[in-house]
Amino acid sequence: METIDRKIAGDLLERYFEAQTTLQEEQQLREYFSGTDIAPEHAVYTQMFCAFAEERQQLNMTDPTFSAEDKFTVNSNSKKFHFRWMSIAVAAALAIFAFLMMPERGDSLKLIIDGVNVKNRELAISMADTQMEQVNSMLGRFRDGSTRQIDNMNKMGDALSPFKSFNRILTQTSATDRLK
């Protein structure tokens, strides 16, 4: 932060006593008073600003990692810190996510009835069995149905066979005709 000249310091001082200065301007004032180029009419306040500056310094020494003076730099530091750990955290989170979301769920068995987790292996298996039985029985009917269809096809083939023999006779006769 560049040091301010006497005139600006004078303006800032007036505003300081009206409590209209910003934190940054107050910092500029403290720096002005810690310097050597102080207007004679301002010398009276040197003690006060130097005392504040000293107090602030002492305060910051109580905890170097967290100080009012370094409020912003500390914040950015802690952000960097977070970023570094964030990548690891993200990786860990992904690993956990992967573990949870993978289609393989190990030897797990889960049963939920009406939104309530039921820890009963036998019940779960028998329910799943009933379900599969129903599907299988329907599939069975489908298979029976399809065999019936095939049977029908065969019957149809049988029905068609007279035509086949007739056709054979026809082709045979036409062949003998040609020979003649």
């Binding site: 300081y16 409590a19 306040y45 003690q47 006060m48 305060l59 109580t62 009012a68």
Partner: protein, 166 residues
């Protein structure tokens, strides 16, 4: 925030808080250490903790408790001593002491200020808080903080001026 996180954070913040409280709590019934401790316990018991997300907010919240307790304590003591009014003039014992003792520092001037003004100056010029934060800590409005601060600074200015002329 879990109790563990809270303890770690408070442990880190404590020196700073005690240092701040030391600035104005001089012995008596409560030391700076006690005041901070009490404020921390109070905060832990309150529901406000749920909303606190970062160390800065935690500091502010503890400071708030320290400051408000201090004002209350001071007020009660003062009321007991001076039932009708408070005096911050040359007859103030600390001021008399200070004028006798040539080691006048800004701290002694600060102690002569009304506590809310004193706290405003400390929070602003030493702790470096924004007006808004100070308003929150002192439980008042931003405009009121500006008034407190400007009055306090004017008073300090007068003190310095009168001292300078001697």
């Amino acid at each position: 925030m879990t109790s563990q996180e809270f303890n770690i954070l408070v442990g880190r913040l404590r020196p700073r808080l005690v240092h701040f409280a030391n600035g104005f709590v001089k012995g008596g019934a409560a030391t700076a250490e006690d005041m901070v401790q009490e404020a921390v316990i109070k905060l832990w018991r309150s529901n406000e903790l749920q909303e606190i997300r970062n160390p800065e907010a935690l500091t502010v919240q503890i400071l708030k408790n320290v400051c408000l307790d201090y004002i209350k304590l001071k007020k009660n003591n003062m009321d007991a001593l001076n039932p009708n009014f408070r005096v911050y003039t040359e007859v103030d014992p600390s001021a008399a002491l200070e004028s006798k003792d040539e080691m006048c520092n800004i701290n002694s001037y600060l102690t002569q200020l009304p506590e809310d003004q004193m706290l405003a100056v400390r929070l602003r010029d030493i702790m470096g808080y924004e007006m808004e934060e100070i308003a929150h800590i002192l439980g008042t409005s931003e405009g009121n903080v500006r008034t407190l601060l400007s009055r306090a600074r004017q008073r300090l200015r007068e003190k310095l001026m009168s001292k300078w002329k001697q």
